[in-house]
Symmetry: C2
Subunit: 212 residues, 2 copies
């Protein structure tokens, strides 16, 4: 198996962390990022979706999208379970996983992509067409992350982990998204003490650092 | 079971279509949309995520996010299978499902929300805070949908269904997103003949109309 990877990208880290939590070795890693933080042209030629991560199996199947890759690993290596056992648990885990992605990760990406000088004309991933930055998305993205922090704080006041009483894929996406937010100068707000408690707790797991 | 619903919303239709493809009766439906296309205040009070759809089970569990709800139904009622059987199939189905959501549904939502007069100050769902429209997102959204159409056309030239050789959840999200795009005046491009063939084929299934 081979993972086409950009080490810095939060979406790639989601996959690496998931695999490490499965107590598996990482697949062979191929870095596909070149100068100017751009995907290598030969990678885009072979994978027109033009996004990372992408997993190539030993049989030659190619799977893109972080959670689709994680689903593949969950099915092949069911233990430890990270995506839920019962119907309700699967639903609740996925709800919180998607929320961390849509609100925290995408919100942060809006801030990052629309302000970073290397991303002029690359406002959207997955295409080589020019897509201008939209400065108004910086403020909108900050608002999304700020609202997500408050929502998560309310959840973590009553729950040890993001999706309830045990560690799950929702914690993985939340940590990867939150570290991205912190890097883009949207730290955990001072009054979010349950979130700080969770952040320390999730960072005590070896996979938090191993996945970086 | 009860589904908190906004009949018009593509995300709610995804769930209804999924349930109907399972050959199940729809759950009890509670419409939670009021005047000005706004969620009812009592719904937001009881569900601060402030989004639809949301499923309440007979046991009182509450699951939001369309695909999380579908996952719950897939697990409780495995046949007919819509989310894949093998690890690879699950990965590939989810990849195409997420792509239809991120590129076609969100792209269309960017056009819709940032141009519709009822959505002034509601540029983002899931909050009662004022979030101004960003007119530049209209063009960006149109570009995303246009690129998605081309990507999908390439896939449907070689495959009968969106994720390969059989109908899946990826067809459901794609149809709901595409009908939304068509409504917002982004019809299937004239030169996308494979996509037109697929669109006719998916619309011959009874669930396409039953879910409207």
């Amino acid at each position: 198996m081979k993972l086409y990877n950009w080490q810095f990208a939060p979406n790639c880290r989601r996959v690496r962390m998931f695999v490490l939590e499965k107590q598996l070795d990482l697949p062979a890693i191929e870095e596909v990022i070149g100068s100017g933080l751009r995907l290598l042209p030969q990678y885009i030629d072979s994978w027109p979706h033009a996004m990372v991560p992408m997993l190539e199996t030993d049989e030659g199947d190619r799977i893109g999208e972080a959670m689709a890759i994680c689903r593949y690993f969950e099915e092949r290596f069911p233990e430890p379970n990270l995506m839920g056992r019962t119907a309700v648990e699967k639903g609740i885990f996925e709800m919180w996983e998607r929320r961390a992605y849509d609100e925290c990760l995408i919100g942060t990406a809006e801030v990052f992509r629309n302000s970073h000088p290397e991303f002029v004309d690359r406002g959207i991933p997955g295409t080589t067409e020019k897509v201008p930055q939209i400065p108004a998305l910086i403020e909108r993205g900050k608002g999304r992350v700020a609202r997500y922090y408050r929502k998560l704080e309310a959840q973590l006041k009553d729950n040890q982990w993001v999706a309830g009483s045990r560690y799950s894929v929702a914690d993985i996406t939340t940590l990867c998204a939150m570290d991205f937010a912190i890097m883009v100068e949207m730290p955990i707000p001072d009054d979010c003490s349950a979130t700080r408690r969770w952040y320390e707790q999730v960072n005590r797991r070896p996979t938090a650092k191993q996945s970086l």
